[in-house]
């Protein structure tokens, strides 16, 4: 972390960048939040640890409009989102100085809490430089410990790898943390009967309080005006209809980001109700992979997304239909 802060200070001092986009410490040890830093003094609050899950790519849409360059700290998987935003002309590559920061998997406070660990006062082992495989957690009930992997976000168990697909400089080591099948849960749901599926989605989506956190954090949800807020389609009124959330909002959102979603997992990370929203997007990704060949949104700048491209080899609609 200190290396990162030192480098940020240098870049601010020599005028390469006008600000730094990173994370600052929150009021608790596990809730750092995205923040801009414009001076060396301000960087005293800078943190980078296992709880810095937030994907900062989307902030670059606004930062691209500001004067001067912004040093943005992106983890390997965040760079996919950034690349996708470049493809969609939503961020200005020239306005970004990308610090490809190392990552050894990010932590999910809900997973830690689910282990019965409450009243947390401090956590050791969450720093990037720590080699420890175990978290030491001081609580008001005494010291607890937990394997690092057991506290990781779901998305880190299906890690995209330790490579940054785009960066100006890399700071810190990364580690691939993949230890699960990416489509395992999707396959499980696919195997359910239609009634079981419906009740599964009903129970999950029924929890939605329509706080819009998923939409606001999603790098693919970068429309200037979301269709759900637009008065052009009467959809804002529809959003108020009973049970609309569970039936439509998330489904429409999944369709809108299909083919553009990099599977960054932010939607599920920020959901205060713990709805596994990423599964919708991942189902689309699985279908795209199976029908049109493997495709990772944001992996490169040139490839055409399968859903907005046509090739003679594309699956026929009848074949798509037969799959049910």
């Amino acid at each position: 972390m200190q290396e990162l802060i030192n480098r940020a200070k240098e870049l601010l001092a020599d005028g390469t960048v006008a600000r730094v986009l990173g994370w600052k410490a929150g009021d608790l040890p596990y809730n750092p939040e995205p923040a801009y830093f414009e001076t060396a003094e301000a960087l005293e609050d800078f943190v980078y640890n296992g709880f810095c899950g937030a994907n900062l790519s989307k902030y670059m849409i606004e930062a691209s409009k500001m004067e001067g360059k912004t040093m943005v700290c992106l983890k390997p998987c965040d760079t996919y989102s950034f690349m996708q935003l470049i493809k969609e002309h939503r961020v200005d590559r020239e306005k970004a100085y990308i610090a490809g920061v190392g990552c050894k998997g990010k932590l999910d406070i809900e997973k830690i809490r689910a282990r019965g660990i409450r009243g947390i006062e401090s956590i050791e082992g969450a720093e990037l430089t720590d080699d420890a495989e175990t978290l030491k957690i001081q609580t008001i009930y005494g010291e607890k410990s937990l394997a690092y992997a057991d506290g990781m976000l779901e998305r880190c168990h299906v890690c995209k790898g330790k490579e940054h697909v785009i960066f100006d400089e890399q700071i810190g080591e990364s580690k691939e943390t993949k230890d699960a099948e990416r489509f395992g849960e999707v396959e499980r749901i696919e195997s359910l009967s239609p009634e079981e599926k419906f009740s599964y989605f009903q129970s999950e989506l029924g929890k939605c309080i329509r706080c819009n956190a998923c939409r606001n954090v999603c790098p693919a949800c970068s429309c200037r005006k979301c269709v759900f807020d637009s008065n052009k389609f009467d959809s804002s009124q529809k959003a108020n209809v009973d049970s609309f959330e569970e039936k439509m909002f998330h489904i429409i959102r999944a369709f809108h980001v299909a083919g553009r979603c990099t599977d960054c997992g932010e939607c599920s990370r920020v959901c205060p109700q713990g709805i596994p929203l990423h599964l919708f997007n991942r189902k689309f990704i699985k279908d795209i992979d199976e029908l049109y060949g493997e495709y990772q949104a944001g992996a490169d700048i040139d490839s055409k997304a399968p859903l907005t491209d046509y090739t003679f080899e594309d699956a026929e609609p009848s074949i798509v239909g037969k799959r049910g």
């Binding site: 269709v227 389609f233 009467d234």
Partner: protein
């Protein structure tokens, strides 16, 4: 607020027998915006149209809904009627209560309920309709014909004779197509080459026709009247301007082992070759896969013997880009592969051949120089068995469900020609039905039976077994005598089903022309527009549309030409005003629409916008209305709903859905 008139058509009993039309009209009056509703026996009749005009004028209607047949039938009729009465034609909507309702339902109550819903959706849409004005677009006075067989040649000749430029693109090294491979033609038995060659020569000499052989259509963009096509001229390795067609190169070429495509692989050809003697152009091509020079770098015999210095090993594929007003597809057919019909022993015995191969065997320029002989040992056959419907009229998915239409006649022809030339050869034909519905066709078939003594057996062959002595044992059934037959034969000829040229899928995709489940191109209307594709400006000629013989192909080729000429004769076309446009305050500039636009109608501009007081320069999609064809792909791809289609706006479509779900 709109003042909408709803007109419910009985269509005689077509609609009224299943839908309570007066109930639909009555219900219409309860819809928001509806000021007038009535039903009438034939809305499309003059009297019906007069009722619409009268209501528009008397009730001051601002929009109308006609509940009738498919808009493909009468949308234009009702739009014109409304226009004559002073209404903008785009204020007319059709609710299809015939094809979508009365024809597919039996229960009156249910059908009426659905008709009311369809009416409601159309009313909801008209409530949001706005008057639209059509523009004009130009017509490029040049036609493209894809395929240089008899269909393509005839279409090209007819268009060229009307005074328009035509380009023929042919994939193989020569025009002529399947017809050039035939020996004699039914029902007159004249020699195929004798009647085809003059047409080929005429096409090649015609000042309005340009022929691109050994070429393929690579890319098509644009729309009716203004297509842009990339044509790949494959490297011939021979300079067409220098070559004199002397043929020495072919004689001297040391590589002579490539299978001859023209002779259906029954013999071989040299690596540098013209497919057949009457080929047009009479300029050979080098098959680079067979050529020793291309394979090993050593040889160059053709170049040494060519007096004209026409051989060019360095020649590269060339892309020609040309504009066309109309495109005619004439891609023809091939016989199906027989790998799923093992019971006929086609792959096991050289003496089991397809009818098209028999054409080559009987032809003087064929592998046996026209002598009827077994391909295994060159012996003269004494017993020949023809098997009809191999892969045609097939109930399972091994073959084709359709009748290939030409086989009954050419089999009669083959049988007759063999009996005429070799009276000592016995000919047996196994058939399911003999279908001869053409002028002088049945007479022809009867001549084969009565005059030439061909033995027709109603029944199918179950198995052909090659025997160690070289004979073929044919096991079939005679349904009229109700007995099993075991017959020894020297040769078996399979009337193999025909299928559209496999390349047609790719071409149809490029042209956005639709194809059916058998890969035949579909017509705009099976009965009333049989030579037009549903895609404007695309016309169909020959077997690419469905199985047909030469006389029918030539007739259809002429019909396709007339339709193309009718288009090329126009100076301007009315454009569809239903084009897309983007809302600059909603546009993200993400390029999704640009990526999916098949017409290249969308570009991006950096534009200064004022978004509720925020002034900034944004990347905004801009639609070129002259290029936009209103397909709506962009409106679906746009994540923020900034793209919208006039006449089919997002709000209109949502209003329709809402009306249906109400």
């Amino acid at each position: 607020m709109q003042r909408i008139g709803v007109f419910v058509c009985h269509c005689g009993s077509n609609i009224a027998a299943t839908v309570d039309v007066s109930k639909v009209a009555e219900m219409a009056l309860m819809e928001p915006g509806v000021a007038h509703a009535e039903d009438y026996q034939y809305m499309c009749s003059e009297a019906g149209q007069a009722k619409i005009a009268a209501a528009i004028q008397e009730k001051g209607l601002t929009g109308i809904v006609v509940c009738s047949c498919s808009p493909r039938m009468h949308e234009a009729t009702f739009r014109k009627a409304a226009e004559r009465a002073g209404l903008n034609p785009y204020m007319v909507e059709i609710a299809n209560i015939r094809e979508h309702c009365s024809w597919i339902h039996k229960d009156m109550e249910e059908a009426t309920k659905k008709a009311v819903i369809l009416m409601r959706a159309a009313v909801a849409k008209v409530n949001l309709n706005t008057p639209l004005q059509a523009g004009e677009s130009r017509v490029t006075k040049r036609a493209l014909v894809i395929g240089g067989g008899i269909a393509g040649i005839q279409t090209a000749l007819d268009i060229a004779d009307a005074g328009y430029e035509v380009d023929i693109v042919e994939k193989t090294p020569s025009i002529g197509g399947r017809m050039s491979q035939l020996d004699k033609t039914f029902p007159t038995l004249d020699c195929s080459a004798c009647i085809l060659t003059p047409k080929m020569v005429e096409a090649s000499a015609h000042e309005k026709i340009t022929i691109y052989t050994y070429s393929e259509v690579e890319k098509v963009s644009g729309f009716v009247g203004d297509f842009t096509v990339d044509i790949r001229r494959k490297a011939r390795s021979v300079d067409m301007n220098k070559c004199t067609g002397c043929g020495v190169c072919q004689e001297k070429c040391p590589s002579k082992k490539a299978p001859s495509e023209f002779n259906r692989g029954l013999n071989t050809r040299s690596a540098i070759y013209t497919p057949f003697a009457q080929a047009i152009p009479n300029v050979p091509v080098i098959d680079r896969e067979a050529c020793i020079k291309f394979r090993t770098g050593k040889c160059g015999v053709c170049s040494k013997v060519c007096q004209a210095g026409a051989i060019d090993y360095e020649q590269k594929d060339e892309i020609i880009t040309e504009k066309y007003g109309a495109i005619v597809v004439a891609t023809g057919f091939d016989t199906i592969k027989l790998d799923r019909y093992d019971e006929y022993a086609y792959s096991q015995s050289k003496d089991v051949i397809t009818s098209l191969e028999l054409e080559r065997v009987m032809n003087a320029a064929g592998p046996t120089h026209g002598h009827l002989e077994r391909l295994s040992d060159g012996k003269a056959p004494k017993e020949i068995v023809f098997i009809q419907c191999v892969g045609s009229r097939c109930a399972d998915d091994r073959g084709k469900p359709y009748c290939s239409k030409i086989c009954c006649m050419y089999t009669a022809k083959h049988a007759m020609l063999i009996r005429d030339k070799y009276p000592d050869v016995n000919v047996t034909v196994f058939y399911i039905d003999v279908r001869t519905p053409g002028k002088n066709f049945d007479e022809f078939y009867r001549r084969a039976v009565e005059q030439y003594g061909v033995n027709y057996i109603k029944g199918q062959v179950g198995k052909v077994i090659p025997k160690p002595d070289g004979k073929l044992l044919v096991q079939g059934s005679d349904l009229l005598d109700n007995r099993q037959i075991l017959k020894e034969a020297d040769m078996v000829v399979l009337a193999t089903a025909i299928e559209p040229n496999p390349d047609v899928r790719k071409i149809a995709t490029m042209l956005t022309a639709s194809i059916d489940t058998n890969n035949f191109l579909t017509e705009a209307h099976a009965k009333l527009r049989p030579v037009e594709s549903p895609t404007a400006g695309i016309f169909l000629s020959g077997v690419c549309q469905g199985p047909k013989d030469i006389p029918e192909t030539v007739a259809q080729a002429g019909a396709a030409a007339v339709k193309a000429i009718g288009l090329l004769a126009k100076d301007k076309l009315m454009t569809n005003p239903c084009t897309a446009h983007s809302d600059e305050l909603l546009c993200n500039g993400c390029s999704s629409c640009e990526n999916v636009c098949p017409y290249g109608a969308i570009t991006y501009e950096d534009k200064e916008v004022n978004d509720h007081g925020i002034r900034e320069t944004r990347r905004i999609a801009v639609v070129n209305n002259a290029l936009c064809q209103g397909c709506g792909a962009c409106t679906v791809a746009c994540p923020s709903g900034a793209m919208d289609l006039q006449g089919f706006s997002n709000r209109q479509i949502i209003a329709e859905v809402d009306a249906i779900c109400r």
